[in-house]
Chain length 410, copies 2
């Protein structure tokens, strides 16, 4: 365990070091193909080399290290995560998984497995710069279309131009995609939630990435004078929305593994002395089973109608996203679970409530995910952290996972 702990300490300090490569002076923001990303590539590439890997940056800006196997024809395992961040980010969401991949190869200390290993540091996962997430992993599964390349950032720079500005060739983007010869994909990532901390567990195995519905709901009433309109004569859109928000929370609490969130609200005309005539809300619903999620969304919209009718309001909704749940590969996940158990930790299985590159990679190959405990459940925040002991546990489990795969191939 001593070797794992030492390397875990190095991984944590490398993540913190990468956080200095930022587009903002105080705090970390690092978007797709930015200047700071170039400096991250220099550091990550050096660490890949040190671990015995050959390095290239593919045409979409993913940094990819190759550690050859003893058998030149054996399909490879890809271990990866992303190197871009949200605005005002923490140091671990993304980079930790890349550094853990390099750490696993480093632990081999030059020893060849039959299995070749590729470590992928995706250039884009969070979707900050172009409003489209997963550009890095989408390139690996061959899902970059011409439309995406013409999309522009806030300064009017297109994806294609950003690729050229980074010294890469957008016409060669299809070369980023993997064809055959892949055994599977492993992503190690912080949980970004409070579940493992509450269970006092360092690790968990991800069974699926939950499906997601996003909607906009609008209540319409009658704007009116706050002083001259008696309570009984009001058609207050915001009061109706409040009643519905409570119903959403109650329904969501009643269904296991379901989360429902109202993150945005707007009341119009939005003056303190005017009764709101309109209230617009966002709704985000997630559940591992698409059937359950669809049923809950229907039920929540159903709840809104009698509330609106009783209050003399109109209600309408518009779907903005209906993204199916993505299951991780059963065989690979079972191997990962055995590896966690063999390294001395109870196996907890959970669903990921957030999207990850593994969700994209799963379209083309068996994919598995390992979560590391998030202290305080904090992420997308400068206080985001990880325990060195948990990183060591992930290294130990990852090393046993490689052994599992080796055995599976013998």
């Amino acid at each position: 365990m001593g070797a794992y702990l030492a390397r875990a300490g190095e991984i944590v300090s490398r993540c913190r070091g990468l956080a200095s490569h930022s587009e903002q002076v105080d705090g970390l923001t690092r978007t797709f193909l930015s200047g700071p990303m170039c400096r991250v590539h220099a550091e990550v590439g050096r660490w890949m080399n040190l671990a015995g890997m050959s390095v290239c940056v593919d045409p979409v800006g993913n940094i990819r290290g190759s550690y050859p196997g003893a058998d030149p024809n054996a399909p490879r395992l890809i271990v990866g995560s992303h190197l871009d961040t949200v605005p005002n980010a923490g140091a671990f969401d993304g980079p930790l998984g890349v550094l853990l991949g390099i750490g696993l190869v480093g632990l081999l200390a030059g020893r060849r497995l039959k299995l070749p290993i590729e470590v992928a540091g995706f250039s884009e996962e969070e979707g900050v710069r172009f409003g489209v997430p997963f550009i890095g992993s989408r390139a690996l599964v061959g899902d970059i279309d011409a439309d995406l390349l013409t999309r522009r950032d806030a300064r009017g720079v297109s994806v294609a131009q950003a690729i050229r500005d980074f010294g890469l060739d957008p016409s060669r983007i299809s070369e980023a995609s993997i064809s055959t010869g892949v055994l599977g994909y492993l992503e190690m990532h912080i949980e970004q939630g409070p579940v493992l901390e509450a269970l006092s567990l360092p690790l968990s195995v991800v069974e699926s990435i939950v499906g997601q519905s996003r909607l906009e709901i609008r209540f319409g009433g009658q704007a009116n004078h706050a002083g001259t309109t008696p309570m009984h004569a009001r058609r207050d859109a915001l009061a109706g929305a409040a009643e519905w928000m409570i119903a959403v929370e109650r329904e969501a609490r009643a269904v296991a593994d379901l989360v429902a969130t109202i993150g945005c609200i707007d009341a119009k005309p939005g003056a303190g002395n005017v009764i709101p005539g309109e209230a617009t809300l966002s709704l985000d619903v997630r559940h591992p089973e698409d059937r359950v999620r669809h049923e809950v969304v229907d039920r929540l919209l159903g709840c809104a109608r009698p509330i609106a009718t009783r209050r003399g309001l109109r209600v309408s909704s518009e779907s903005r996203l209906d993204q199916p749940s993505v299951a991780m590969d059963e065989r690979l996940t079972a191997a990962l679970a055995r590896a966690v158990e063999d390294s001395g930790h109870p196996v907890h299985r959970m669903h990921s409530g957030a999207g990850h590159d593994a969700m994209i990679m799963a379209r083309r190959m068996p994919a598995a995910m390992l979560f590391l405990r998030s202290p305080g459940g904090i992420s997308h925040h400068p206080d985001e952290s990880v325990l060195v002991e948990d990183v060591a546990a992930a290294l130990a489990a990852g090393a046993r996972f490689l052994e599992e795969l080796e055995r599976g191939r013998e």
Copy 2:
């Protein structure tokens, strides 16, 4: 009644005509000392002259018509309302009261009462241009301070400069104030609410202008990932705010004559996929009795605390306005009620939920208010209207009110 109806038709058509003097092309916006206000003065002044009044514009831009009494020493009655509007206004909120005053004088057809009458068209009531309401009537009661004169509008023009630009002299503003020799103030105004329409009554007598509390309430929780934070582990500031909004509505409905309104709401960070860590709301509470209003505000803030505690939230509030209720004069209001009754209508007494110039005038003299039914309860909107029959009823009641005052003086 025929004479009243004919003159009421003229008043309604004059109000609609004044609405063409606007700062916007489509719709009516007419602020303090604007170009359109100058054209309104020309028309209103002409109508005052026609009714037998001498006309002047005082140093704060109020147009004031004098109809002398038979007794040169008798104190005068001021009949007034305002000529400025909110943005995208209707034609009657304000101008109707001025035109009714001119109409009452016109009905005398040159006949002298003992009582002199002054009709005041206030230059500013809505507070749109400088963010401060009641500038016109405040000048009459001598409540314009040097600070107010330095206040600037959105284009950087000060009140003093606006007065100069209108061709008036701000150093003479104290000359606008009335000293002695005033019997009282009568304001006729649309109700701006649905009460008279629901009662099928044309008129009501105002007993008081309600007091008003305005506060800002803030719930603080923990912003977090909408996908990875289970329902039971959330500290959702907006969900707490929703629960409180329902409590506010319930409490407000339980207290007679009370209105409570949440017109503004803001959730932060305000992303569909992030649990709100902060929710800020406005609260507007009005009631004729200040003691009741203060008790209700305390109770509503008290409601917020257990909601916050149970949800692991912080809650704080800040008072923004605590404006006492203003009673109308008992003797003058009784005379107005008799006048309504004598002109053949049941007397309904109500509180005004909106502020009016009468509230300012009441500081220095007996004041009374007459409300006219607002069709659909609509005001501050281009669809704002008034029934010709109701304007005729107000003229009849106003004429009898003048007779009451004459008799009172005999």
